[in-house]
Amino acid sequence: MAKVLMKGNEAIGEAAIRAGCKNYFAYPITPQSEVAEYLAKRMPEVDGVFLQGESEVAVGYMIFGAAACGERVMTTSSSPGVSLMSEAISYIAGARCPAVFVNIMRGGPGLGGILPSQADYFQATKGGGHGDYRLLVMAPEGVQEAVDMTMKAFDLAEKYRGPVMIMGDGLIGQMMEPVEFPEDFTPTPMNNDDWATSGMATRGTDKRNLVKSLFLDPKQLNDHNLLLKAGYDRMRQEEVRYEGYNTDAEYKLLIVSYGTMSRVCKTAIDTMKEEGLEIGMVRPQTLFPFPEQAIHDAAAKESCSHVVSIELSMGQMVEDVDRCVKGQRPVTWYGECGGDIPTPEEIIDHVKSLLKN
């Protein structure tokens, strides 16, 4: 297929449809409302469902109900809205339903701002809602990757029977880049007969299915959590994705960065390379599971004296980076959390100041 120029938000909407998701529920919020506006037009064209819910709380449970029927379903929101959905996400994880959530992050806490941010890293990777659950979290660096990840997200949600989250930021949502949708792509939703409440008649059985998260018996709840854990452990084995950038070079310092922020880092790294200064980067494409080994090994490189986590937050991912580096090198944070994005020049200055000390 030829390339088309699309806004990230619209491209995510189109990607969902291409991935066979015909069900979308959402509540407006800047900077992701264009997904809803796009799908308000597109869903009727493909006989799909578009509904604006009365709140993100309600939308979360619309997703739960739809997902529990075994249908592919997605919602998109931005930070304050995802907070409201977090309760439902916990229930969906507990009840083991596949569903895709997209967070086009903006600044917080509270109402914060509407400019790009990565301050929901903890929320996405460490919980958000209550209970012992994890989300599989993917973080695109641009519009094409947002499309690829969105399309992949539905398969992963079904493979692990749980919620999957795409973490973009306001800039990825708002900017346009050329994208290519895979040609002749046939979505292959998994057979959900053994668990989904799709109707006994639909399944041609008199065995009923139950979707729930209540386990009053302590042993049952423990087993249930162990079952969830087995899924998360398998994600750690099979789903870790990252990109190494200039990691073949004898870099003096390692950057860990994702999403929009990592793109700025790439420019900074290229510029420093031209000046003869080698800097490497590991860009996590999955935030959970986290590329632990890759970061550990990249930090261990002999030429590398320092690791810096560059994020649009006050320093969240840096805690995971530190955990992976295991004391081999100093690990510090750099970034902004008000909506401005550090420029390549600012990153270069910061990297050089770290190397001086």
Binding site: K3, L5, T30, P31, G113, I114, L115, G170, L171, Q174, M175, M176, E177, P178, T260, R263, V264, C265, K266, T267, A268, D270, G339, I341, P342, T343, P344, E345
Partner: protein, 178 residues
């Protein structure tokens, strides 16, 4: 080679569309492109701006502090962004609304009375098309024939206004001396 152009003006001047057309044409030519709008509260009634990055390799940073070129459709945008344009860049000045100049002697100024020319053609709304064709002609960032096709395709759903926009396109080329 990477080139960046910043389009800036009032909301409602068609800034985002001019920028999109340029990005579209560059994409059709096989380049890597990125279109980055400003968004946020400042958009309401204020200045809208949008950056287009065109490159022959994968584009890194979407944050451009010093663009190669500037298309300034109103005075505040010229005053704000002219000082940051890289030397030798093109600075398009919509002289219908901007009585001043860039104040720089190391850039190539392109003076386009876009609004007046558009009104003469029949509607002030096509001022943005005049600006983008004049800019493309002078900066050579994209092939003007490809850009013309992109304008046509962009308006394909409103065929009635294509002739006006084609006239505007030619007017832009004429002003740029092509």
């Amino acid at each position: 080679m990477q080139k960046e152009v910043m389009f800036a003006g009032f909301g409602g001047q068609g800034i985002l569309l001019s920028a999109k057309l340029l990005a579209y044409a560059a994409m059709e030519q096989g380049a890597e492109v990125m279109w980055i709008p400003s968004y946020g509260p400042e958009m309401r009634g204020g200045t809208a701006y949008c950056t287009v990055v065109v490159s022959d390799k994968l584009i890194g940073s979407p944050i451009i502090k010093n663009p190669t070129h500037l298309v300034a459709m109103n005075r505040p945008s010229l005053e704000k962004f002219a000082p940051v344009v890289k030397p030798d860049g093109v600075v398009l000045i919509n002289s219908s609304l901007i009585p001043v100049r860039s104040g720089r002697d190391d850039v190539r100024e392109l003076i386009v009375p876009a609004n007046e020319a558009a009104v003469k053609l029949g509607s002030v709304k096509c001022a943005n098309i005049i600006a983008v064709s004049a800019f493309a002609a002078m900066s050579k960032m994209v092939d003007v024939d490809i850009l013309r096709e992109c304008v046509k395709k962009e308006f394909a759903k409103k065929p009635k206004i294509i002739p006006l926009n084609m006239k505007a396109f030619d007017e832009g080329l004429k002003i740029a001396g092509m």
